[in-house]
């Protein structure tokens, strides 16, 4: 989230698209209710199903899953055509005026530079014209036909209301009504918020779905303001924190990058990370990259990371592929290229697409290690559960170690919520049996391995034997010790260059902010964006002062929000170019003639003059991007692509199947249904229920009682056509697998008409498996395709093809 849950009360219009907050985030949704009740805010829901969010909306519009980009580009087109643009914001705070290189173009669904064999682009033309002064060329009049604004205008012009109707199936009048309501928020005193979740991420173009809305929000002037923003409703309690801390193939904590093979040494690595400003005076905050990186290396390897060894740069692994994400890992496993696999609180046999492939892959491991508070299907993938998990244990040679861990109620530490608040919690109960904390298990594994390397030597032991592990009890580092390390501390005294008798930083002290981090080895910090969370003043994450001056919803003294305790990102943009709030009734910060101050921590240098320094301080431009240069693999503007399994041909680019640059493994390609396949005629999607949380709560008696049994949801029209009765059994199958479930025949899903064709949508809740207190059932990933988003490889769970028929149920039931 750019904003916070409690800020949603400040909005005038909530758009829930790509999510279903009323059911999946009920206690956060209360802030929508607050805005409706106290501000007269409206709620729009755009979704294939008439969800419970829709049931309390002011306006609902149906959409075919996987067509969000066409819808969003259509709304942008409407705003441009009808002059519903927050012009002062767009001109001052976006790259609308930047002139783009002549080579760049878009035609027939492809941008310049496409290589079909590589399924990739040469993105060199997707960039600004750089002038002789070294800065990007801009045309503030927006007259230059090559400026971003005019390219955008042309790019979205195809997405007319008629085209949106053909692609999305949204009736034209409903689409236009949504456009009108959204467009009102181009006013300086009206704000819209976007609330989205996996309904946008779980697509082969998920990142571009989100970009589409972010662009719309910029055009309306809604980023950085109270009641505005791009608000990702994160799923699990610390999924934000795990991402911030970079537990991913290609990340270093704080959104730094693991090197690639092309970056053979530290100098080469840093050479592309200079982040020289693209316009005069801009902060381009990533210019401090080296300080964050060196401080991270010092947190990892302490004294062993030195200037002489390039701060142990070579001890980090270098990637030969963009990432060894979960899909690639299972592909490798299936091909016999993975021997050991750890699952820490993660149940991939249910959570990753194409269950049959996953089970085959797990069976090729030598050792699978499970760390979990609960039984999982993954831990028992080798166990025969009939139709629910057919397996022959005697034929599966994988050894499985299942290790019991503590759960949240028995563990201490911080979690990052959707709004980036790091909230500390304390243990209230003793763990069951011999369960241990995850930290104790990781320490146990590490200390043993370190001993083995010390005794036996072996492959490159340096990064292991030198890992900084100075904890009071090395066998179980305490949460506070780890938190202090993440925050960062001073390694050795730093003297004031102007007065060598004066200490600027004192060895051993906790750092108060990331502004103090240094690239000379005198500071250490595990995760620079968390700096400030545990300072000399104590554990800021444990703060519990819930005061909120003037009821702004900021709660600055409650816990700690990264970065720098800032509650709304880009909040400089809540003011006009002179530093005055766009909407005085929703003041956040303002320029008082000498400095920025207000209800939130300013997202800009406190004394940066408003006319000089742009609000988007992380970008070298100082402004936000309507055109993303070469930063996304599938285009600087979002373009409509169908899901890999689609009931219709791509209307705007008929030759293109799926996202043209999404990675597809060879064996998976043959497991995709043909476009508009008569064998798999129905458009399926997956989702969660209010009463269940993924695959956990089926282990909970209460939740298992509330929703005991798996079902699929289909329209009355489709049920009639297929002679399916409400409550009766159905069999649903895709090109990858088959499941049985009860039919829920509902008015909540209605057939859509896309380009003259009737499209039936089938909804598949995800929660069932062969373990737990609920009845045995099938998880949705029996059906889903093994392909991810082109930029970040999130699997396409939300749009795929199935067939279905009435059935007498599974033979074992």
């Amino acid at each position: 989230m750019t904003n916070a849950w409690t800020d949603i009360k400040n909005t005038d219009l909530v758009v829930i698209m790509g999510g279903n907050a009323a059911e999946a985030h009920p206690c956060g949704f209360k802030w929508v209710t607050e805005a409706k009740a106290n501000r007269g805010a409206k709620l729009i829901v755009v979704d294939p199903r008439y969800t419970r969010s829709a049931s309390v909306s002011d306006y609902y519009a149906p959409i075919r899953q996987g067509s969000d980009i066409a819808f969003l580009m259509g709304v942008i087109n409407y705003c441009i055509q009808n002059d519903k643009v927050q012009w002062d914001y767009v001109k001052a705070f976006t790259n609308a005026a930047y002139v783009v290189k002549d080579g760049f173009a878009y035609k027939d669904g492809l941008f310049t530079g496409y290589d079909e064999t590589k399924r990739d682009y040469d993105r060199s033309s997707w960039d600004y014209v750089i002038g002789e002064d070294g800065y990007a060329v801009v045309d503030d009049t927006l007259q230059n036909p090559r400026c971003v604004w005019n390219l955008l205008k042309e790019h979205v012009s195809v997405y007319t209301p008629e085209m949106v109707n053909r692609i999305c199936g949204t009736p034209k009048d409903k689409f236009l009504k949504v456009c009108e309501m959204v467009a009102e928020c181009s006013s300086k005193t009206k704000t819209m918020t976007s609330m989205y979740a996996l309904g946008w991420t779980q697509h082969s173009k998920g990142a571009q779905n989100i970009r589409g809305m972010a662009m719309l929000q910029l055009i309306l002037g809604n980023i950085g303001v109270r009641g505005g923003g791009m608000n990702a409703l994160r799923g699990h309690s610390n999924i934000q924190g795990l991402t911030d801390l970079g537990l991913m193939s290609n990340l270093i904590p704080g959104y730094l990058n693991i090197p690639t093979e092309k970056e053979k040494d530290f100098a080469t690595y840093m050479s592309t990370r200079g982040f020289k400003p693209l316009r005069p005076n801009q902060m381009s905050y990533w210019q401090n990259y080296k300080k964050f990186f060196v401080s991270f290396q010092k947190a990892m390897w302490g004294k062993a990371a030195t200037l002489e060894n390039d701060w142990s740069y070579s001890w980090l692994p270098k990637l030969d592929v963009p990432s060894y994400d979960i899909l690639r890992a299972f592909e490798m496993m299936k091909n016999g290229q993975m021997n050991l696999y750890f699952c820490q609180g993660f149940n991939p046999l249910q959570a990753v697409p194409n269950k049959a492939k996953l089970a085959e892959a797990l069976g090729k491991l030598k050792l699978l290690v499970i760390m979990d508070p609960l039984e999982t299907e993954t831990a028992r993938f080798w166990e025969n559960h009939g139709v629910y998990n057919p397996a022959d244990p005697s034929a599966i040679k994988t050894e499985v170690l299942q290790l019991p861990t503590t759960c949240f109620a028995e563990d201490e530490g911080s979690l990052v919520n959707s709004g980036r608040w790091l909230q500390w919690h304390w243990p209230g109960g003793s763990p069951p049996g011999e369960a241990k904390t995850d930290s104790a298990i990781m320490a146990g594994v590490f200390l043993r391995l370190r001993d083995l390397y010390a005794k036996e030597g072996g492959a490159f032991p340096d990064p292991i034997v030198n890992l900084d592990w100075r904890y009071a009890d090395p066998k179980e580092p305490k949460a506070e010790e780890l938190a202090k390390e993440m925050n960062g501390y001073v390694i050795s005294d730093v003297m004031d260059p102007a007065d060598p008798t004066k200490k600027v930083l004192e060895a051993g002290k906790q750092l108060a902010s990331f502004g103090l981090l240094r690239d000379d080895g005198t500071t250490a910090s595990g995760c620079w964006i968390f700096t400030g969370c545990f300072t000399e003043a104590g554990n800021m994450m444990a703060r519990r002062d819930n005061s909120d001056p003037d009821d702004t919803g900021m709660y600055l003294k409650w816990s700690f929000a990264w970065p720098a305790n800032r509650r709304i990102l880009y909040n400089r943009a809540s003011c006009d170019i002179d530093g005055k709030p766009w909407d005085p009734s929703r003041k956040l910060i303002e320029w008082d003639g000498a400095k920025w101050a207000g209800y939130d921590v300013p997202d800009i240098a406190p004394t940066a003059k408003p006319h000089d320094v742009g609000p988007f301080i992380m970008n070298p431009e100082g402004v936000s991007r309507l055109f993303t240069r070469g930063m996304m693999r599938d285009g600087p503007f979002p373009a409509h692509y169908e899901p890999f399994e689609s009931p219709v041909v791509n209307v705007v680019a008929p030759k293109i199947k799926g996202n043209p640059v999404a990675r597809v493994f060879k064996d998976d390609l043959s497991q995709f249904a043909e476009t508009a396949s008569p064998e798999f005629p129905y458009a399926a999607t997956s989702y969660r229920l209010t009463e269940h949380f993924h695959y956990w709560t089926k282990n909970n008696h209460v939740n298992a009682v509330l929703q005991p049994e798996s079902f699929v949801e289909l329209s009355e029209e489709l049920a009639k056509e297929k002679s399916i009765t409400n409550g009766g059994w159905v069999r649903v199958w895709s090109k990858r697998g088959s499941l049985y479930a009860k039919a829920m025949v509902t008015k909540r899903i209605r057939p859509l008409t896309c380009d003259g064709k009737t499209i039936h949508v089938v909804g598949i809740p995800i929660h069932w498996g062969f373990i737990g207190a609920a009845r045995k059932g099938f998880p949705a990933n029996v059906l889903t395709p093994f392909v991810g988003d082109a930029n970040i490889e999130t699997p396409e769970f939300k749009a795929f093809l199935v067939n279905l028929e009435a059935s007498s149920g599974p033979a074992t039931s």
């Binding site: 990892m300 021997n339 050894e399 780890l482 209010t690």
Partner: protein, 199 residues
């Protein structure tokens, strides 16, 4: 509820000095005692309160754990009740159908108790000690890493990566656990490193 509480309070007072009261003199003592015994005692009396956060979604509702026993005094503690934290700015005491049932996930029958090993070709888990489990993991990792670690690529560039062992990290563990995990996994050169945010 209020009525029940006031009656309970009344009965407790009444029961204490029953023999000397008019009621006692009238021969109602045994009835009153039986009634007092039938009333459930305060569920939350003598429990320890601990602030925590719901383990499910990222709304991150504040909760209060009520336990018999106090971990801070070195005692064993059993959580007997969970409720929403009304001081919390986001949820203000409310919980959804999942959060309201948290007690049952803490005490789920599916909670793992002991390290277990499933041997190759076996149809069951067998209990092992922590030392056996951790030794086995460390040995397997060492052997696999030594056999498959890639120090340099074909162009002679130092790459120091280990691709044959992978690690999937959680989504509900603390930042501190995540950082501890990060250090261990990265120090070994593991690249097949991912977490639940991917899906």
């Amino acid at each position: 509820m209020n009525m029940e509480l006031s009656r309970r309070a009344f009965l407790r007072t009444a029961g204490a000095g029953l023999a000397g009261t008019t009621l006692g003199a009238m021969g109602f003592g045994a009835v009153e005692e039986a009634m007092a015994a039938a009333i459930r005692p305060f569920k939350l009396a003598n429990t320890t309160e601990t602030r925590n956060t719901c383990t499910y979604c990222s709304v991150a509702c504040g909760i209060i754990l009520y336990s018999k026993g106090d971990l801070r005094k070195g005692e064993r503690a059993e959580i007997t009740h969970v409720e929403g934290d009304s001081d919390h700015p986001t949820n203000r005491g409310t919980l959804c159908p999942k959060g309201a049932a948290l007690l049952d996930i803490i005490h789920s029958k599916s909670r793992l108790q002991f390290p277990m090993l499933r041997k190759a070709g076996s149809d069951r888990f067998e209990r092992v000690s922590w030392d056996e489990a951790l030794d086995k993991i460390a040995r397997a990792m060492k052997d696999d890493r030594d056999a498959n670690f890639i120090a340099t690529n074909k162009d002679g560039v130092t790459v120091n990566r280990w691709t044959t062992t992978g690690f999937l990290a959680a989504s509900a563990t603390t930042n501190e656990t995540a950082w501890c995990t990060y250090k261990v996994v990265r120090s070994m050169g593991i690249v097949a490193f991912d977490n639940q945010a991917r899906v």
